[in-house]
Symmetry: C2
Subunit: 281 residues, 2 copies
Amino acid sequence: MSHTHQTAPTQYTEANGIRFAYRRFGKTGGVPLVMNMHFTGTMDHWDPLVTDGLAAGREIILFNNAGISSSSGDVPTSIEEMAANAVAFIRALALDKVDVLGFSLGGLIAQEITLQAPDLVRKLILVGTGPRSGDGMATLTPEAQSIFGATYSEPDELWAHVFFTESKKSQAKAHEFLKRFRLRVEGRDPEVSEKVAPAQIAALGKWGEPRENPFVYLKAITQPTLVVNGDNDVIIYTSNSVILQQNIPDAQLILYPDANHGSQYQYPEIFVAHVGLFLDA
Amino acid sequence: MSHTHQTAPTQYTEANGIRFAYRRFGKTGGVPLVMNMHFTGTMDHWDPLVTDGLAAGREIILFNNAGISSSSGDVPTSIEEMAANAVAFIRALALDKVDVLGFSLGGLIAQEITLQAPDLVRKLILVGTGPRSGDGMATLTPEAQSIFGATYSEPDELWAHVFFTESKKSQAKAHEFLKRFRLRVEGRDPEVSEKVAPAQIAALGKWGEPRENPFVYLKAITQPTLVVNGDNDVIIYTSNSVILQQNIPDAQLILYPDANHGSQYQYPEIFVAHVGLFLDA
């Protein structure tokens, strides 16, 4: 029987002294796609329309990095350490070539994975993310502070504002997404502990702080890269996606209309098609 | 027999007192795609890999606007008049709904077609182009002046520098393109007269001149729009594609790596796939 986002069992592997939780499903035989999650997210936060859509063409590997939910260990306070853990996890699966996707915080980790283990990474996909010392990345943006600081009648409602714009059309898509990411009922990940957010915020702050010639490091990412974002990302400003595209030597950029930080959840079908074209080219 | 870029006969229709030359081929039954050509170009300047690629999914209509090559009349000295002629041409074919693609100068005309005849246009594709009063658009850019002002051993070589970057990889793609756009041998368009360039430059200058709130007009383009460019366009700077995306309400942006003004000729297969996804969505 072939598994889906809803049915793939959570498996475990050990590396770096950490017991990593992961799920693996989709079409085997090619280069698997390893997906790196956003701030405070678990494997359950991926959109099944995206993961199952991508899984039609390739094997998908979701995982919780160290200290997140069903994985043991502590969340490190630097992106570099998070990436080192991710590399250890990938190698523990005995994989020697993967495609890497990172969303938001996961996109920072994906860049670092590529820099730390260039031979391991075939292609890179950076979604709703930015470079070191990016535009407005030294701290949470004012919009992010306001959205994450607000109280919502339903806690999931937070993500309707983090990932979607306030337009009627985008909010309608938000509520479709909120249903989809609750579809998996059996074997869901436990919620993250209260230690996750502070450590991740510390790591984000170090990554985002100003430095000289901050974008030079991107020249070392020689893998074909796809940069994707909404045209109105208020969490990691859209201008950062342009900076990534302009500084990574072989990068394509796609921006979606009337879309905020989670554009791939607003346009899951077209995102899946664009990623498929990029990975299969 | 179904025609291709190489075999489609040049046909003629009359409108606005002009005899328009056009070619029509591809899969009938849907919304045809009308393609607007760049500075001093004729129907023969399109890349057959692009036109035949697109024609697999829809009917393609190439034409020479007024005063260009095999079309009669004079080249107007404003984009608005060029667009009025294009609208008259489309209506003369008894079409009441089309998709419109414009490349470079043709992209300015495509915007004006959409503004002048919003009911006629279903979707809009803007390639290597920019808005009124765009970045560096008051005159030819310094790079464009240098490239258009140089002398080439083979005249076609001009296009290798207008459309492609100076990287080895991009120049290799340029020389594949230069072969492709000479593949049609029978029934080619006559070269444009010496009156074309000055009139088109006058129109470009008026479009590009500074004005107050120059981008507000883009809010009136409510059609789904796809903006495409190379990441290093030195003829109409890439920043103008970002401006188009950020100001047209429902616009998607795609930028291709290591690519100049003619990115669709450097990546014809992926461009055709991206356009197909956009038009069929």
